[in-house]
């Protein structure tokens, strides 16, 4: 659905069900350069089972208008504005990669609004490889090729998509290239590079938090995800084996099962 946030038209998938203001809200926050579509194997399940779902396209990404936000702090404030814009007082956040930085910062700034945090492939800081950052900021498609290489584990590189017939690497590449690379991936990578408040924000959190990590993650390594989890009280950690950074697609069933168990326990559905 489309709705206005700060006068910009924003798109969010509602998981294939009409948006319902009487059901608890889960907001899905994508990673650098991506869109709502990376969440398709999680959102529909929650939308069909008692939740209102918004899988966002960040400003300037996917089907949302406007320009990409330049800092993680701005994205965190914007996320709070999203909750206001859809007339909710609170939400659970599910995030991936850069989205985890946004979610942590948002939960630290607006503790009254955020009820649970689910962090996938997250870290307290995501310093960028200088060459990759430069390629993305200069609109070079090689940045996407490198990102696809780093972001995928065996399921991405060899294949074996949970949805029959889909191929991870090229689908991911097309998602990132749906807009100008420099305007999405370039801006997002720079925002990650500049963000230094992750661990401080994490230490402020006291809400139920889930970290789903992957043992072959080369974007946000397992040890970095574990370090972030160690900074958060009430943090539950699950490690998916033989999987890369895109666990939400590469091992979608495992990811969904862990996520469902955590959210149903800490943020029950309203049927």
């Amino acid at each position: 659905m489309k709705f206005k946030v700060n006068n910009e038209e924003i798109f969010a998938s509602t998981g294939g069900r009409p948006f319902n203001k009487n059901k608890p809200l889960i907001i899905f926050v994508h990673g650098s350069g991506l869109t709502h579509m990376c969440w398709v194997l999680q959102t529909r399940s929650f939308a069909f089972h008692g939740y209102s779902v918004l899988a966002l396209d960040l400003p300037g990404h996917g089907l949302s208008s406007g320009k990409s936000l330049k800092s993680i702090e701005d994205m965190a404030d914007w996320l709070s504005d999203v909750i206001d814009a859809v007339d909710f007082k609170e939400a659970s956040l599910v995030s991936h990669s850069q989205g985890c930085l946004v979610a942590i910062e948002c939960a630290a700034r607006y503790p009254e609004k955020i009820k649970t945090l689910s962090l996938m492939g997250g870290a307290g800081a995501i310093p960028m490889n200088p060459e990759l950052l430069s390629l993305a900021e200069n609109n070079d498609p090689k940045a996407v090729d490198l990102m696809m290489d780093f972001a995928h584990g065996p399921s991405g590189h060899f294949g074996g998509h949970p949805v029959p017939g889909l191929y991870h690497m090229n689908t991911g590449s097309m998602l990132v290239q749906s807009k100008e690379i420099k305007d999405t991936l370039g801006v997002d990578f720079r925002a990650c590079q500049n963000y230094t408040n992750g661990f401080k924000a994490a230490q402020k959190l006291s809400l139920p938090t889930l970290s789903i990590l992957a043992d072959q993650d080369r974007m946000c390594r397992l040890k970095d995800g574990q370090k972030l989890a160690d900074h958060i009280k009430n943090s539950e950690v699950h490690i998916i084996k033989n999987c890369g950074h895109m666990m939400l697609l590469e091992e979608a069933d495992q990811t969904l099962a862990i996520l469902k168990n955590f959210i149903k326990t800490n943020y029950p559905a309203n049927y």
């Binding site: 294939g16 398709v40 194997l41 990759l132 017939g165 191929y167 689908t171």
Partner: protein
């Protein structure tokens, strides 16, 4: 710093499959089953609602077929693929996913006879009409677009006349009109050409041909490039508007770069059911494992046959894009850098009767209605593959009565040439006897 992603030859062998998830089986297992157990009612509902990936019934998807689909998507540079029981069913499924009654298509006139009949005779029965344009008439494709046109369809190298479409320019025409370009790339395989790199949106293959190579199994596939914006206009409501068949799902919103394949599977395979058998999928994969080495030999032999035929006294003309005098030679160098393929059209001196004598007297070359076998194949299109066309349609499709279509195999080139000499000798003998009338 360069990405360490797998390259073409590696993907031909490995893409789409992980032994660790299949009991360690190094070969792709053949899942010879119709259906798949659900864990519980929630699991069943989740699969039917497209909440999660997985298999329900082999008409919709099958694990062995899915490996083939992912492998071809990987080789083509596509986001997704859907395998079908034949190339023709892949074309039909693509059109039925794209169009509804009242829609219109612009179609290259030089295409396989069966495909031509589908567009000319069968699709109008579903209310879908087509305007045919000669493949070299690039501007003609633009002129033929109407308000209700939903796509352009063609073969990069036309069957059987070997005329090329200017794929990049026609893609621009299609995109300026807000419609996709669909190309049957059977003749090329992704080894010779990756149409997505030239602006194509949907690629079709008859996998029966070079992709499999062994001539044992029927199969087809449609592959999605993932770059076409279905939401840019209101031409594709079945892609963009809520679909009653899946609780109001919008395929374009939900699946973006894989929306076309998802719709083709969820709707098309459900309702029409042209599914590929797992055994045939497996057979095709055995061929794909050696695709690049076979295509190199096919092209090498084809170039040698082009020289042989061009210098032969019994041959009136030869059409193959590797020839400098071929009108599309420069375009072929750009679009087909790894070789112009192994399909040759040539005219035999003495016309139709000489052609018949030639075909009746070759022994090694097989006379049959197929192309892209590892064995050399010949046919006389006017009396076989395109025989359902009248004289005017034949001419518009670029066919002549003296034309022989040759699909060059990977046998020893000397043996192929010797076999052809026998055929030409028989045709010449016929001429000497005075039976050379057309």
């Amino acid at each position: 710093m360069d990405p360490k992603t797998y390259k073409f030859d590696t993907l031909s062998l490995h893409a789409g499959y992980q032994p660790s998830k299949n009991a360690g089986s190094r070969q792709v297992p053949i899942y010879q089953t119709t259906s798949y157990l659900f864990d519980d009612v929630d699991h069943a509902a989740a699969l039917f609602n497209l909440e999660r990936g997985g298999h329900i019934y082999s008409r919709i998807s099958n694990p062995t077929v899915a490996v083939l689909e992912e492998r071809v998507a990987a080789l083509e540079g596509g986001t997704a693929a859907l395998a079908t029981s034949s190339g023709m069913s892949a074309i039909f499924l693509a059109i039925m996913t794209l169009c509804q009654a009242g829609d219109h298509l612009v179609v290259s006139s030089q295409i396989y006879g069966g495909t031509a009949n589908l567009f000319r005779l069968t699709l109008p029965k579903f209310g879908i009409k087509s305007t045919f344009v000669k493949p070299r008439d690039t501007l003609g494709f633009k002129k033929a677009i109407q308000k209700n046109t939903k796509g352009i369809f063609g073969e990069l190298v036309g069957n059987p006349g070997n005329e090329l479409m200017n794929m990049p320019e026609i893609a621009k025409i299609a995109h300026n009109a807000g419609i996709p370009l669909i190309v049957d790339s059977t003749y090329q395989t992704p080894y010779l050409c990756k149409p997505f790199e030239h602006g194509v949106d949907i690629v079709i293959h008859s996998l029966t041909k070079w992709m499999a190579g062994h001539g044992s199994s029927m199969a087809g596939i449609l592959v999605e490039g993932g770059n076409f914006d279905w939401m840019q206009n209101d031409k594709f409501p079945t892609m963009t508007e809520p679909y009653e068949g899946y609780h109001g799902l919008s395929f374009a919103e939900e699946f973006g770069p894989t929306a076309f394949t998802m719709k083709a599977r969820a709707e098309g395979m459900r309702d029409f059911g042209p599914c590929l058998s797992p055994q045939n999928a497996w057979n095709v994969m055995q061929g794909i494992e050696t695709l690049s080495v076979r295509m190199q030999k096919h092209c090498l032999n084809a170039e040698k046959m082009v020289k042989f035929l061009s210098n032969h006294e019994s041959v009136a003309w030869v059409s193959h894009a590797s020839l400098p005098e071929h009108p599309d030679h420069d375009l072929a160098k750009k679009l087909l850098p790894n070789g112009a393929g192994s399909m040759i059209a040539f005219g035999i001196i003495g016309g139709k009767k000489a052609g018949e004598a030639f075909i009746n007297n070759v022994k090694l070359a097989s006379h049959l209605a197929n192309v892209g076998d590892t064995r050399t194949l010949v046919i006389h299109p006017a009396s076989a593959t395109h025989s359902q066309m009248d004289e005017a349609t034949l001419k518009f499709a670029g066919l002549s009565q003296d034309m022989i279509r040759l699909s060059v195999g990977i046998e020893d080139i000397v043996d192929i040439k010797n076999d052809f000499e026998d055929g030409f000798r028989a045709a010449k003998k016929l001429k000497l006897l005075g039976n050379n009338e057309i």
